[in-house]
């Protein structure tokens, strides 16, 4: 009886502490600051700091993780439903359908229009890439879904995105796993993406401004890496930062040409195995996330 009471009190106190810290961290951080810091230092989220391996309430935090609930999720949900149905789940005979329930759920939940400039929001759910300023475009929904599917993420997977762009892909990833890291080389883009993600409530996305070619060595190894900008070759640092058994999804090909979406797997013995999945068209590794 006494033991049970002590356990109950511990859980209550621990839970209250966790709740208090959550509340306080929300009040300290404003838009764009909670997950991003200049010069490549990421603050990280509260869950990452508090949840150290082996701690009791770390396990509770992990098992209790739920995908984020973006603030604009209620808006234009019917359009997202149609987008998922017609462009992703049943895209026609020219494309392979995406049937992963978690990916489809993420595509339904992420408010794509929040990541698109106001004057193009009407087309946000069309089956087309769209310009979003700074000379870049946002990928077609189908491409985002396909790349996400290819990553094969679980809730504890650690994923790195190279080329944050608008932040949309990072937001989709954040619905599948709690550990999302994303890099953008051009500062205005990085800041804007971080602000949008923070506004929508994505606290499990770490945004860094930096050279994506070098990856994110401090957070490595990763279970998956997704590169959303064209590269002439697979950056060796990314290969080093993927764990055995992990996979990299990257468009390979000439800049401003039609590239191939390639899945690169690192086998258990560290060797390379690749599969070219489809033709895509991304702009080069500058952090301009675009694709079609």
């Amino acid at each position: 009886m006494i033991v049970r009471r002590r356990i109950a009190i511990s859980v209550l106190v621990g839970g209250a502490a966790v709740a208090l810290i959550f509340v306080l961290s929300k009040q300290r951080s404003g838009p764009g600051i909670s997950a991003w810091e200049p010069d490549g230092n990421s603050i990280g989220t509260l869950a990452a700091k508090v949840a150290t391996p082996g701690s009791a309430f770390a396990e509770d935090t992990i098992t209790a993780w739920e995908p984020p609930k973006p603030r604009s999720a209620h808006s234009r949900a019917d359009e997202r439903e149609k987008m998922v149905l017609h462009q992703i789940e049943s895209p026609g005979w020219t494309r392979d359908a995406v049937s992963d329930p978690a990916v489809l759920r993420a595509m339904r939940d992420v408010p794509r229009h929040a990541f698109v400039p106001r004057d193009l929001r009407e087309q946000a759910y069309d089956d087309t890439p769209l310009p979003i300023g700074h000379g870049q475009t946002i990928s077609q929904p189908y491409i985002v879904a396909t790349m996400t599917k290819l990553l094969r993420l679980g809730p504890e997977s650690k994923v790195l995105e190279i080329g944050t762009g608008s932040g949309y892909q990072a937001a989709v990833l954040a619905h599948l796993t709690r550990h999302v890291y994303t890099i953008e080389i051009i500062e205005p883009l990085a800041k804007k993406a971080a602000e949008t993600l923070a506004d929508e409530g994505y606290e499990n996305v770490h945004v860094r401004r930096g050279d994506g070619y070098l990856g994110w060595p401090e957070a490595a190894p990763f279970d998956a890496i997704v590169v959303t900008c064209a590269a002439g070759h697979l950056p060796p640092p990314l290969w080093d930062q993927i764990r055995p058994g992990g996979r990299i999804v990257i468009p390979i090909g000439g800049t401003f040409a039609v590239q191939r979406l390639v899945v690169v797997e690192k086998t258990a013995d560290g060797k390379r195995k690749t599969d070219s999945v489809m033709d895509v068209r991304f702009v080069p590794m500058t952090g301009r996330a675009s694709g079609e």
């Binding site: 026609g92 700074h134 090909g253 800049t255 401003f256 039609v258 070219s276 702009v283």
Partner: protein
């Protein structure tokens, strides 16, 4: 009231300078477009210029009476407007966001922007041509003299523009031509008045203020490499360290820790600091910032190191089109006893030997390295040396893989004849190699195989399938061709190299099914193990390559000297296929170069009809006039023929001269000069002598045939000549045909002037329309069927003109 007589020397000088500025502007436009976009669009530039001239003729016909009464005042005012419009058009077009990458959701808008872009460039041509036309009208009996000065000034402009390109950024060329044009106003009588002097002063001040307030710049296509490098510059992540200008290219070199591009680098290598080199805004290569071969170890991890496993120790190496020097480091690391670098771009060599010499550019001065500043094709044609390894380094750049509009570019090395010349430079066990990015479905690599197959046959190989090996990883394919068959021990080496370097074999003699498509899998035919490139190789190296070529969705016919558009993969018949497979994204997949030409042709036809012939067709006296039909046929035929010959010969002369802008200058100036001379001589002939005129037309057609035939061996032997000699040879080639081609137009016009003067403007307008249509038409024919086919069209047009001359109004004597 008669037009006031103007001292012809003043008018001649004014027209001379105006013509110089206009033609210099025309060539400058090609240079600007090469930098801003993906091609020089010579055919479109020429069309726009001719549209300006043609529509000015129509305008003068409709309103010239009023203008001609003003004498040289109207010419003076027009010249001032031209001077302002040249930098003005450059300023406006730098703010029009044209792109060569067509996004489906924005297709209509992008096409509209292109139309606007060309409409703005049209304005200076229209104004300038109106000034010239008006000067011809007011010069009265001195018209031939003024006309001769027009031609001479144009020729000078064609020579001066390339010189200017050597020293100034392309953005400033329009300003310079504007200043030259402004000088044209000074000799005129109107300039001597107080109002005239103030006008000139005001125009000069306006141009100066304009330039100072808004320095000229070129808007680079946002999807070109240079555009994103500029973003990096603005962000402080990159800095330009060197630059070189020339008629051939603008070379820019950047440093920054964000540059990591090394072609086809495997995951086992890490790039050292490097400079990124752009040529006309495309990434052209990287210069490793290393000082010795020992520190250039990264090159061992590129696909280009694979061929060294198949050549003798201490090979002699030939690098055709090498840019950054990475392959030179590789040759040094592999113990090559000699490395010959052939690079035609003077600007690039100046940068490597100058600003970058102490920081990687010194690779060109390594012991055993020789550099030739020459066209690769010319080099292999004239050289008698043999090499153990010949590397087509120019194809390694991603720049040429953009396809699409870049498919309009000529590549005189990557033809059956060009590769034949390369194979003839191989030592008995030598290897010709090219590394090129993987594409799905394959097109470039397939075309290389198709072209190599035919080239091997031309050097006496009976079974090309035994002479080619193709290996790849997931980035690039490496093709290796020998003039001797691959031996069993060499094939064993191929297998070992694949195993050691984790490469995927694509094709070699005796390859097994179980060896295909691993460890790097790319799509292949359903139900089969190999990838598409493997199946393409098997088919293209067999006796029945034609069937595969016909059925493939891309144009992979071997490129030839007659049709040297290596990067052109578009097939009109495949558009339906691309639409079915890619849906709304088909414009981004269909290799649009050919389609771009066709769209340009349609737009030009509409613009030409609206601005030239339609207004004239409704003019009283012309509509329903007897002989208008025959007049239209005759003048359209000679207009079509003339420009088709000029555009076709321009493309041929690129193979002779080497540089497209220089070739354009020589061709345009040459035709102007010699045709002008021919026109002057034509004054002495009686246009009523029908038989004589017809004989002349036959002679013109015959001269065109001879010129187009002679241009072929001239192109092949041009390598033996220096640049001045090649230009001289080109001029000599143009002279006879150009001279004779100057006869038909004035003879026809003089006949009409006597028998049906009301039809003269109609003839002028129809001729202008046909001249505008001809360049894109000739380009489209050359792309699909080759220069010979375009030449046949030209000769047929002169034949039609020969028949139609008899239908012109007026009495004939025989």
């Amino acid at each position: 009231m008669n037009a006031p007589r103007n001292p012809s020397s003043r008018l001649c000088l004014a027209i001379f300078l105006l013509s110089c500025g206009l033609l210099g502007y025309e060539l400058s436009l090609m240079r600007v477009l090469l930098y801003a976009s993906w091609h020089h669009f010579a055919f479109l530039v020429v069309s726009i210029a001719l549209l300006g001239f043609g529509s000015s003729g129509t305008a003068l016909c409709l309103a010239g009476g009023r203008l001609s009464r003003s004498g040289d005042t109207a010419v003076f005012v027009l010249i001032l407007f031209v001077a302002l419009s040249l930098p003005g058009a450059a300023w406006v077009t730098a703010r029009i966001p044209v792109e060569a990458r067509f996004v489906p959701a924005l297709l209509a808008k992008q096409i509209a922007l292109w139309v606007l872009y060309w409409a703005v460039w049209f304005v200076p041509f229209f104004l300038g041509a109106t000034a010239i036309g008006l000067a011809l009208i007011v010069s009265g009996a001195r018209l031939p003299t003024v006309y001769a000065f027009n031609l001479a000034g144009s020729a000078l402009g064609a020579c001066a523009a390339p010189i200017a390109m050597r020293f100034v950024h392309p953005a400033w060329l329009a300003v310079i031509m504007g200043a030259v044009t402004l000088l044209a106003a000074l000799p005129l009588r109107a300039a001597k008045s107080r109002t005239g002097a103030l006008s000139i002063a005001a125009t000069s001040a306006a141009m100066l203020v304009f330039v100072l307030a808004s320095p000229p710049k070129i808007r680079v296509d946002s999807f070109k490499y240079a555009s994103y490098v500029r973003d990096l510059e603005m962000d402080g992540r990159a800095a330009e360290v060197a630059r070189a200008y020339g008629p051939r290219s603008v070379v820019e070199v950047y440093e920054g820790d964000v540059f990591h591009e090394i072609a086809f680098l495997s995951v086992s290598g890490f790039p050292p600091p490097l400079f990124a080199v752009t040529i006309d805004g495309h990434w052209a290569g990287s210069v490793l910032r290393v000082q010795s071969a020992e520190t250039a170890v990264v090159v061992d991890h590129t696909m280009m190191s694979v061929p060294y496993a198949f050549v003798p120790a201490g090979p002699s190496v030939l690098l055709l089109g090498e840019t950054g020097g990475a392959n030179v480091w590789l040759a040094a690391r592999r113990g090559a006893r000699s490395a010959v670098v052939v690079q035609p771009d003077n600007g690039l060599l100046r940068v490597l030997r100058g600003a970058l010499r102490a920081d990687g550019g010194g690779v060109l001065e390594l012991p055993g390295v020789t550099v030739w500043e020459e066209e690769p094709r010319h080099f292999v044609e004239r050289s008698r040396e043999r090499y153990d390894l010949i590397q087509l380094a120019a194809l390694e750049s991603w720049a040429v893989s953009a396809g699409g509009v870049a498919g309009l570019q000529q590549d005189n090395l990557m033809t059956v004849e060009g590769l034949e010349a390369c194979l003839e430079r191989l030592s008995p066990e030598g290897v010709l190699t090219v590394c090129r990015a993987i594409e799905t479905p394959p097109r470039t690599n397939a075309k290389i195989l198709a072209t190599l197959g035919q080239s091997l046959r031309r050097v006496g190989v009976e079974r090309p399938a035994e002479h080619i090996v193709v290996l790849r990883d997931f980035l690039a394919a490496c093709m290796l061709a020998k003039t001797s068959p691959w031996t069993p021990s060499e094939v064993a080496t191929v297998r070992r190299v694949c195993e050691d370097r984790e490469l995927t074999p694509v094709y070699f003699p005796g390859i097994r099914e179980d060896e295909l498509n691993r460890p790097d899998r790319i799509p292949g035919p359903p139900g089969k193990n190999g990838d598409w490139l493997h199946h393409a190789a098997v088919a293209l190296l067999s006796e029945d390559a034609r069937t595969f070529i016909e059925e493939w969705p891309f144009d992979i016919r071997p490129s030839t000297d007659d049709r040297p558009f290596f990067e052109n993969f578009g097939k009109l018949g495949s558009l339906g296929f691309f639409k079915r497979v890619y849906g709304d994204l088909w414009p981004t997949r269909a290799e649009l170069g050919f389609l771009f030409v066709l769209c340009a042709m349609v737009i030009i036809i509409v613009a030409g009809a609206v601005l030239t012939i339609i207004p004239l067709g409704f003019r009283p006296g012309i509509r329903g006039a007897g002989g208008s039909g025959g007049t239209a046929v005759y003048f359209a035929a000679i207009g079509l023929a003339y420009m088709t010959v000029e555009i076709t010969l321009l493309s041929r002369l690129v193979q002779v001269v080497g540089d497209p802008v220089l070739a354009g200058a020589v061709t345009i100036a040459g035709f102007l000069l010699f045709s002008g001379a021919g026109s002057l001589v034509a004054q002495r002939l009686d246009p009523s002598r029908s038989r004589l005129v017809r004989a002349l037309l036959v002679a013109v057609a015959g001269a065109c045939v001879v010129v187009l035939i002679v241009s072929v061996p001239l192109a092949r032997s041009a390598g033996w000549l220096g640049l001045p000699e090649r230009i001289g040879a080109a001029v000599a080639l143009i002279a006879p045909a150009g001279f004779l081609m100057g006869f038909p137009m004035p003879l026809g016009l003089r006949r009409l002037a006597v028998s049906a003067p009301v039809l003269v403007p109609w003839a002028w307008g129809v001729n202008g329309f046909a001249s505008v249509l001809a360049p894109p038409l000739a380009t489209a024919i050359a792309l699909s069927s080759g220069f010979t086919a375009a030449g046949v069209v030209a000769v047929a047009s002169y034949a039609l003109a020969c028949v139609a001359y008899g239908a012109l109004p007026g009495r004939t004597t025989n």
